[in-house]
Symmetry: C2
Subunit: 419 residues, 2 copies
């Protein structure tokens, strides 16, 4: 079965907005065996909207639209689709009463225009909307299914889950989509691709999407299958084959983020952590604390932008900064060691570098970062040279590298470390 | 002139990826007077791609596509469009030589499949790609313009800027899009809308999009006009009318971020800042340091998750925490005062609260946050009750509120403060 998703709304044709409902709808449709083969985005004008629906009716078995079900003049999905399918709009007393009741509950009078939301094309199944005034509508015509949903994400999701999914599930084919998500750190996209692509040929039925983000590279193998057991086994096998050439750069295979992996390792090892960061400006602490329960392992952090703060908050000797410079392997180690002692933590991390765009020199260019790690046995640091021109990317890459240093500390003890 | 944007690539039909090139293309097209009326997203299959291009040719004056110009079997935009327009593909010797030269420059042999990228539909204008191997193509047919661009964002942008924009600019109408971007903080979307919507009726030609994000509410008035002077004047007038009911919640009218506004105020006032944060976990420091040059005003920060760290890094007396609790107005003020002294800064900010999802009580629920601000005259704090269920949103709202407190400190001295 082939689906087309149509997002309705002139604001989705501006330079500021993207249709994100379609990501949710795609995941849901794929999960019940329906492939999305087209997505269309169209404004509020009736003529253009009709054009989009007309073309979708020519080529898709299922059409799911979002938006244009509100009470104002701009909301034309209902009328456009009714006209296109040759159905009359009729006032539905049941819906009207529900809308009136909703307004009464909030002690507000119902504006006359809301009556429009009770207009229903002949033969439509009404999908009650527990979160808003506009119900969804399910229409069938010439073997095509057309589902109209409101554009508000919470309403769309609730309606899809409760009303649309069960109905589609009964008629959808038994084939569905199985996926994995591999996260990789410390390698550029092209290197990841060239390491794993020889595996692709062994699994011709699996499509792999590669996605580069500031937090690393993601690989998404996808397989359509009628046999869940075989599909899962095949993906497990393929995933482990892909993992081999990635080695210790492979962070996770089920989509866990670097923060989740690090949180798990700290918790398993009953370890605590404290950080002292310069160029990342708080981003490392922010990442370490973005999971619930992080107070179990994260004790605190110092954001030491000025040299004085490196000394007062993270105990870095002023003479060391004078002698080696603030951006140096020695200061990275001292930051890690200092904050570890200050906080009484198992692990200390220190980050110092040049995020840019200014502040670089020939000897210490923009993108040069030193990250130190300290434990009860002492401290050491590593040098990184990030090539990004932009400040935010350098900060994000340094943050990921610091988290990765914690991950490697637990997973790959120094003696067996592979570089 | 009406444009349709077609994004080609099966990965854009997955649940993970969105077509973001279209935002850039929309801004550029609008800037030269071309309206985007449809966007389509389609996979690599020739039949489906042909369907998208065929429909676009029926309804748009200009069609801009991205993607599908690579050298592999999946890259079918070139052949599909040539076939649809009834044009033969011909090997272009000039392009082939450029591709070969590019491979030589990187000391790599050119794979045979790259020859495909030198195949050009009859009558196409070749748009040289300075950043990659695939050139863009410009085709004209029955009064329609079809522009094929590669999907890699840097290549697409460079090609559009250098090759497409000047060509379209010569034939585009004199009307173009004029915009403003108002940023609003501290009010929910519905409240912003109800305050400003009475102004809309006075400017029927201006469309306004409202956009809610964790960093606040954005209002985007948009006006198509042939008269730049009049359009700018109209938008200025409308913007200032919209500003009145928003009062001190209005952060900026030209899209400047809260960080930029705060950075400007700190710089103008030759002030420095230091922060001590608990529930925001480094996010406030991260925001204050994400602009280049932030070392001119940001001295440092402490992320004090544990009570001990509040005492050691930010000088909060342990007895105060015992007496009032870590989440209290007194501790917020003490964090602000303590870090200000520790850093020797003009302004100190302290944040303490319950980000959730756990840790809340009936008396101190999830979302309760105290933010303190200190200067040479002393410290005071404010209470916030954020209603978000999710941790990240509470942290983001607290970060925005803290930045807003700095903004208000400079813009609205306490004596004249409107609450």
């Amino acid at each position: 079965m082939r689906a087309e998703i149509i997002a309705v709304g002139s604001e989705l044709l501006t330079a500021e907005r993207l249709d994100t409902n379609s990501l949710f709808l795609t995941a849901e449709l794929n999960g019940i065996g329906i492939r999305v083969v087209h997505k269309a985005i169209v404004g509020d004008a009736a003529e253009e909207m009709a054009s989009s629906f007309r073309h979708a009716l020519e080529r898709a078995d299922v059409i799911v639209s979002s938006g244009g079900l509100g009470p104002t003049d701009d909301d034309r999905t209902r009328t456009t689709v009714a006209q296109l399918l040759g159905r009359k709009l009729q006032l539905n007393q049941g819906i009207l009463e529900k809308i009136q009741a909703r307004f009464r509950r909030y002690n507000r009078p119902m504006p006359e225009i809301n009556t429009r939301q009770a207009m229903v094309p002949e033969g439509a199944i009404i999908l009650p909307n527990p979160r808003g005034t506009a119900p969804g509508l399910w229409l069938e015509s010439n073997g095509r299914i057309v589902v109209l949903l409101p554009g508000v994400p919470t309403e769309l999701r609730a309606l899809f889950e409760c009303e649309v999914k069960p109905r589609l599930g009964r008629i959808a084919p038994s084939e569905r989509l199985f996926t994995r998500e591999l996260r990789v750190t410390g390698l550029p996209e092209s290197e990841v691709e060239s390491r794993v692509s020889p595996v692709y040929a062994l699994y011709p039925d699996v499509e792999v999407t590669i996605l580069a983000s500031p937090s690393g590279i993601q690989l998404h193998p996808r397989l359509w299958s009628k046999d869940p057991v075989q599909a899962e086994r095949l993906l497990d096998e393929m995933t482990s084959r892909m993992g081999l050439p990635l080695g210790e750069h492979l962070v996770s295979t089920r989509g866990e983020s670097m923060e989740e992996i690090v949180a798990g390792l700290l918790t398993e090892n009953r370890a605590t952590i404290a950080v002292a960061e310069s160029c990342t400006g708080g981003m490392l602490a922010e990442h370490l604390t973005n999971l619930a329960g992080s107070s179990n392992y994260f004790l605190g952090g110092a954001v030491c932008y000025s040299n004085e703060m490196k000394t007062t908050l993270a105990r870095v000797p002023a003479q060391l900064i004078d002698a080696k410079g603030a951006v140096s392997p020695e200061v990275a180690s001292a930051l890690a060691e200092g904050i570890r002692k200050e906080a009484g933590a198992t692990i200390g991390i220190g980050v110092t570098g040049i995020a840019g765009p200014g502040g670089g020199t020939a000897e210490k260019p923009v993108g040069l970062v030193y990250i130190g790690i300290a434990d009860e046995h002492g401290a050491h640091s590593r040098e990184y040279r990030f090539s990004a021109a932009d400040r935010d990317r350098n900060r994000q890459m340094a943050t990921q590298a610091a988290l990765d240093l914690v991950r490697r500390h637990f997973l790959f003890p120094p003696a067996t470390k592979v570089r």
